[in-house]
């Protein structure tokens, strides 16, 4: 499951527009995979690593 899919599992109401405007996911092609570059959502808290790890 990708990082995007994990976040959508936690916050199912998030839209693609949220990911174009207030949430930025990034991958620097350095072997460390996708990560949350910026999280500026006005009401939803940035998911913790524990929350993300709990989703398989």
């Amino acid at each position: 499951m990708t990082l995007y899919e994990k976040i959508k599992t936690i916050y199912s109401d998030l839209t693609d527009n949220d990911f174009r405007t207030v949430i930025t996911l990034q991958n620097d092609s350095d072997g460390n995979g996708d990560y949350i570059k910026e999280w500026n959502h006005p009401t939803l808290a940035k998911p913790t690593q524990e929350q993300l790890d709990a989703i398989e």
């Binding site: 990708t2 990082l3 995007y4 693609d16 990911f19 174009r20 930025t24 996911l25 990034q26 991958n27 620097d28 092609s29 350095d30 996708d34 570059k37």
Partner: protein, 193 residues
């Protein structure tokens, strides 16, 4: 010291030969408006007025492309692993970090293009300056394959850098192609600082 004066207002030329056996020859011209006399041994400042037509500078320029494809997850800005150089005149492009860090300060024209090789909902190229996506590329929200981005960017000649990223919104993971003609990254100095 001898003194020569052109006694005409209609132009002409003056040829001065070094004295036989002389090791040091100096020519002094009247400083009417100031300025420099440039010789083949001069390392001083070249002014704009001294540059003739059809003469360009030799600032840094590079052009590179990826040798392999890369997976890009839905809605994730993914750095394009540009690791093959066509040219890199000043060795300012790093093929291990995929980063251009020019060592000459100035204004650079930077262009990046990406291709996913198939029609998907939307794709976009982006230039990341000093770690942040700063210049997005062409994109629409119907099917497209490629995206290009270009910008004129100032670099300080030491720490400023730029990288090429791409993002796609297909709903699933897609592949950034490695075609040298449609996935490329290039920049060149346009104006010195």
């Amino acid at each position: 010291m001898g003194t020569l004066k052109l006694n005409t207002t209609s132009g002409g030329s003056l040829s001065i030969q070094a004295a036989d056996g002389a090791s040091d020859n100096t020519l002094t011209l009247p400083a009417v408006t100031g300025g420099n006399i440039v010789t083949t041994a001069d390392s001083g400042t070249i002014t704009q007025g001294m540059i003739g037509s059809n003469v360009v500078g030799k600032g840094p320029a590079f052009h590179a492309y990826p040798s392999a494809t890369t997976s890009a997850s839905h809605s994730v800005w993914t750095k394009v692993p540009i690791n093959t150089e066509r040219f890199d005149t000043n060795s300012n492009f790093d093929t291990s970090t995929y980063r251009f860090t020019p060592t000459v300060a100035g204004y650079y024209s930077v262009t990046g293009m990406v291709s996913f090789g198939e029609n998907i909902a939307s794709v976009e190229a982006g230039l990341s300056v000093n770690g942040s996506i700063a210049y997005g590329g062409t994109a629409n929200w119907s099917n497209n394959v490629n995206s290009m981005t270009t910008a004129l960017i100032y670099f300080n000649g030491s720490t400023d850098y730029v990288e090429l990223y791409a993002i796609q919104w297909s709903g699933v993971t897609k592949t950034i192609q490695n075609s040298a003609s449609t996935v490329r990254f290039e920049a060149h100095l346009v104006r010195a600082a």
